[in-house]
Amino acid sequence: MRRVVVTGLGMLTPLGCGVDATWARILAGDSGGKKIDTFDVSDLPSQVACYIPRGDGTGGTFNPDQWMEPKDQRKVDDFIVYAMCAAKQALDDADWHPKSDEDQFATGTMIGSGIGGLTGIAETAVLLKERGPRRVSPFFIPGRLINLASGYVSIEHGLKGPNHAVVTACSTGAHAVGDAARLIALGDAEVMVAGGAESPISRIGIAGFCAARALSTGFNETPEKASRPYDKDRDGFVMGEGAGVLVLEEYEHAKRRGAKIYAEVTGYGLSGDAFHITSPPPDGNGGFRSMSMALKRAGLVASDLDYINAHGTSTQVGDEIELGAVERLLGNAASKVSMSSTKSATGHLLGAAGAIEAIFAILAIRDNVVPPTINLDNPSVQTAIDLVPHTSRKRDVNVALSNSFGFGGTNASVIVQRVTN
């Protein structure tokens, strides 16, 4: 199979617009947690979320007008605007702007979302009921469909290769990276623009996840403390928003054009729990099998791992099940591996989480540093694994694995490695 490397990165997260802005704050141990102030939460048990910092576009703030025409923003839900932002960053970073037929046909798009245009669907449903079908916009459908993130990005940048979108809840971003890498490895594309985008912070989104008992409810007055994976006081995840996009490229193609190469995507594993719609099985065998498959695909063994970016959402049940699966995977190597949950800082970006976390794993390799699990004051279980509490730490990172597990019992693990010739 052909080798696949990462040549461009783009992100928009609750810690900032841009890879550098986000990474600096991740390493500093900052939290993106805020009190929800964009809609009424007085009757909702969870009142915190990790918002993208909006502003004029300076200082790591997000100014949507820099990334999509205002007239087009009106037609779509925010997840598409976020995808446009992260995709442009990634393509600029890769310095890949295909103009010839050959280059355009060889460049594909695979940007997914867990839920897509939830806000627009909710608002239009109310409009339909109150004012009838004649008030429904012609842009209602194309502005909410999940694959329209890929659609808009492909049109903007002239990407005429595979045009695809993943929808696997919170595994979306990881599956997009893994599946897009496969398309390149199999020769269906030379370059793929892959990732995830999500805009779930709305009244209906919070209400829905609250009803599923998934969100933190005990930190409404201290939002920056609410996301606390592995801590004994954790009580649910904190909703985040944003997008992560990677430019994946066939290794020889990247070398030929002298592209900057961040890392190689060497491993990818997928599995299903076939257990429960929202809970993993107590033995975590689905996650264990996806990690094992990723190692096998990469031709590695568990002791080769340096860093794991955990799924670690800060839910009571899920964190310990994942930890148990990782301990089983690592065996005696547990004490040499660092594993952190960057969701402690960003919140849970659902379909974008796997993409931004793959990027964090890549940056850990680039900078030989592991980002922290903030708010980890008192671990709920003892483990030999270094969970990187509170502060980032310099250490050698050559091989990193990122886990993502989603509702429906869908698991994905992606392995990225420092490139060696």
Binding site: E69, K71, D72, R134, S137, P138
Partner: protein, 79 residues
């Protein structure tokens, strides 16, 4: 330009994201102002909203330019 014409122009500028000086009576939504077929459907909806009237599909099909819209609405506007 009539008061209705000014309101039409404002809607067109807002929805199509075009320079106000391009929005003249003879400007075609599709050929001159960059609209696609979905944009024209949405424009008609915006006119209905602003002017409190219904624009039936057969009438909407004859509204191709800024001037067409103004002329139709000068006859049919309710608000």
């Amino acid at each position: 330009m009539s008061e209705i014409g000014e309101r039409v122009k404002k809607i067109v500028v807002e929805h199509l994201g075009v320079e106000p000086e391009k929005v003249v009576d003879s400007a075609s939504f599709i050929d001159d102002l960059g609209a696609d077929s979905l944009d024209t459907v949405e424009l008609v909806m915006a006119f209905e909203e602003e002017f409190g009237c219904e624009i039936p599909d057969d009438a909407a099909e004859t509204i191709l330019t800024v001037g067409d819209a103004t002329k139709f609405l000068e006859k049919n506007a309710k608000s």
